[in-house]
C-alpha cells in the first residue's frame, strides 16, 4: 500500500466566464482522511473536486499532493481514482474490461490484471457480473463497478462525486456503510462530495462546508454541528437546520419576541440587535415563555416537527412527545438556554 496522501489547496480561485465560482479556497486534507465537501448545488464543491483531479484548470492558486506542486500536471499523472456521479462506465466494455482498463493503461501484465480485477470485484461483491455490459446492470451494480474500477489501481487519492445520489433510499444507506468499510480497508485519502449532510456527517472524519464558492467552515462533523461559526453554516447544517430568530439585547438580557430569556449567560457585546440560533430539538412546549401559535405539525413516526409562528416567522420544534395539538392553537415555548447561539446580523459571524 502506498504511503502518504496529503492534499493541500492554496488560494484556489476559478472563474466560469465572468462568474467567480471558487473564491480563494484554502484547505488541507490529511493522510488517509475521509474528507467530505458539503454544500448545496452550485456551491463549488464539485468544481473543487474536479480541480483536484486535474479535469478543470484554475485561474489562481496552487495544489500540492504530499508537498509536491501538481497544479499543472495531467489528471493521469496524479495517481487519483474518481467515481463520477454518473459512474462514467464505458458502455461498450464488459464489467471485466471496465475494471481492467486502468491497469491496461498502466501497462500491467495480463495475468496480474486478471488477479487484481477479481480481487477488487470481490471486494465490492460483483464477481459474478464480470461478463456483463454496464447496460445490463442495475444502478447499484453499476455503482459498484465504478467503485471497483477506482480501487483496482490502488490509487493514492480517492475522489467520489456524489456517488450515492443516483441510488434509491434503502440502497443508499447500505452502500454508505460499505463505503465507510471500504475506506477503512483501503486506507486511502478520500474526498467525498455530497449535498446530503447526513451522508457527510456519518461518513467523514472531517468536512468542509461550501457556500457560494467559499469554504465557510472546516472541522469534524460534530464540531461543525455544535459550533457553527456563521449564520450561513447554522442555517444549513442540521435536519431541519437551526432556527434563526431575530432577538434584542438590553440591560445585558437577551430578549426574544419581547420575552426575557432566563438563565442565559450573555457574553460581552455592544450589539443591540442579534440573531439567535436554536436547534429544533432545543425548544420545548411549556406553560410559560415565548408565545407561539401552532401552524402545522409534520409527523415523522418516532418524532414530530411542529411549525410554530413566533414573531410572524416559522420556527421549527422537534419533539419525541406523542401529545397532539390542534393546528392554530396557542401555546408557550421555552428555549434551552445553554443551546442558544448568537450571531451578528451584519457580519453573520458568531458572537
Amino acid at each position: 500500500m502506498k504511503q502518504n496522501g496529503k492534499i493541500e489547496l492554496r488560494n484556489i480561485t476559478k472563474y466560469y466566464g465572468k462568474v467567480k465560482v471558487l473564491d480563494n479556497i484554502n484547505l488541507e486534507i490529511k493522510q488517509n482522511e475521509f474528507f467530505a465537501f458539503l454544500g448545496p448545488s452550485g456551491s463549488g464543491k464539485t468544481t473543487t473536486l474536479r480541480i483536484l483531479a486535474g479535469l478543470e484548470e484554475l485561474d489562481q492558486g496552487k495544489i500540492f499532493f504530499d508537498d509536491l506542486d501538481v497544479t499543472n500536471t495531467s489528471p493521469g499523472s496524479r495517481d487519483i481514482a474518481m467515481v463520477f456521479q454518473s459512474y462514467a462506465l464505458y458502455p461498450h466494455m464488459t464489467v471485466y474490461e471496465n475494471i481492467s482498463f486502468p491497469l491496461k493503461m498502466d501497462g500491467i501484465e495480463k495475468t496480474e490484471i486478471s488477479e487484481l480485477v477479481k480481487k477488487s470485484a470481490t471486494k465490492v461483491k460483483i464477481q459474478h457480473l464480470l461478463e456483463r455490459k454496464p447496460g445490463q446492470l442495475s444502478g447499484g451494480q453499476q455503482q459498484r463497478v465504478a467503485l471497483a474500477r477506482a480501487v483496482v489501481r490502488q490509487p493514492k487519492f480517492f475522489l467520489l462525486d456524489e456517488p450515492l445520489s443516483n441510488l434509491d433510499a434503502k440502497l443508499r444507506l447500505e452502500t454508505r456503510v460499505e463505503l465507510k468499510n471500504l475506506h477503512k480497508s483501503l486506507n486511502v485519502t478520500t474526498v467525498y462530495v455530497t449535498h446530503d449532510q447526513e451522508e457527510a456527517m456519518t461518513l467523514a472524519n472531517r468536512m468542509a462546508v461550501f457556500l457560494k464558492g467559499k469554504i465557510m467552515q472546516v472541522g469534524t462533523p460534530t464540531n461543525i454541528f455544535d459550533n457553527p461559526k456563521t449564520l450561513e453554516v447554522a442555517g444549513f447544517i442540521g435536519n431541519p437546520p437551526m432556527n434563526l430568530i431575530d432577538a434584542e439585547i438590553s440591560n445585558k438580557q437577551l430578549i426574544i419576541a419581547g420575552i426575557k430569556i432566563k438563565d442565559y449567560e450573555l457574553k460581552e457585546t455592544n450589539l443591540k440587535q442579534v440573531v439567535a440560533g436554536i436547534r429544533p430539538t432545543d425548544l420545548n412546549i411549556s406553560n410559560e415563555g415565548i408565545p407561539a401559535k401552532l401552524y402545522l405539525t409534520e409527523q415523522l413516526g418516532d418524532s414530530s416537527i411542529m411549525n410554530l409562528i413566533i414573531n410572524n416567522k416559522i420556527v421549527k420544534l422537534k419533539t419525541m412527545e406523542k401529545k397532539q395539538y390542534n393546528d392554530g392553537s396557542n401555546m408557550f415555548v421555552k428555549l434551552n438556554p445553554g443551546k442558544i447561539y448568537l450571531f451578528d446580523p451584519k457580519t453573520g459571524l458568531r458572537i
Binding site: A53, G76, M82, Y90, P91, H92, F101
Partner: protein, 278 residues
Amino acid sequence: MNKKIRDSILTLLATFILLIWILPLIWSVFVSLKSEIEVMAYPPNIFFEPTLNNFRDAISGSLSIVSELADSLIIATITTTLTLLLSIPAAYSLARLNLVGKKKLGFYVLATQMIPPMGLVIPYYLILGKFGWLDTYHGMIIVYMTFSLPFAIWLMVSFMEDIPREMEEAAFLDKASRVKTLLYIIIPQVKGGIAVTTLFTFMNAWNEFLFAVQLSGNKVRPVTIAMYNFVSVEQTMWAKLCAAALIAMIPVIIIGIIGNNHIVKGLTLGAVKGGGRK
C-alpha cells in the same frame, strides 16, 4: 378493429411507396433477361424466354465493364478509407478540443457543401489539368474527398458530441492518453456513425457521374461512365445496359446490407445515451 384498419391502410401506403422506388429495378431485371429484339417488342411481352446472354456480354467480351468496376472499386474504397482516417480525428478535435477559431473552422467545413457541384466541375477540371492529374486515380479521389470529408466530419462530430465528457475524463484519470482515449473509448462508441459515414461516402463515390464524366478518361473510367458502352448513335442496347447496371449495383447493395445492421446498432446505442448511465 380500428387499429387493424389503420394498420392495413399504412401497409398499403408503404407498399405503394415502395413500388414507386422498386419498379424501375424490377423493370431493369426483366429487360436484362430479354434479348435486344424482345426489348423492342410492342406491346411488351409478359411471357418470354429469359436469357443470361446480356450478363455474359457485360462481364466478358468487347463491351465488358469489369475493368471499370475495378476502377470504381479502387476509387470508392480509397476515398472511403481516407475520409474515415481523416474525419475521425478532425471530428474529435472539433467536438472536444479548445481550438482557436473552432467555430469558424466548423462553418467553413460546412460552407464547402453549399456550393452547387455544377459550379465546381470546370474549376476542378482546370486545377487537375494544371497538376496533370486528369484521368488518374488520385485526381478523382481528391475531388471526391472534397465532398465526402465535410459531410463525414459533421456527421462524426454529432456522434462524438453525444458521448458524455465524463467518460473521457474517466479515461484520462485511468492514465489513458488522448490518442488511446480516442481509440479505446470514443471510436468503439461511434461505430454507428462510422457505419453511416462509410455507407454514404462509398455510395456517393460509387454512384458519382457528373465529375467522373469530366475528370476521368481512357485510363481511369468509373463504372457509371461504362454505362455509355451500350449507348451509341445508332442504337441503345437496353438489355445489356440493364444487365450492366444491375451488376454495378451489387457492391452498393452488399455494403448497404452490412452497414444497415450497424446503423441500427448505432441508433440503439444512441437511445440509451451513454449506455452505462441510469
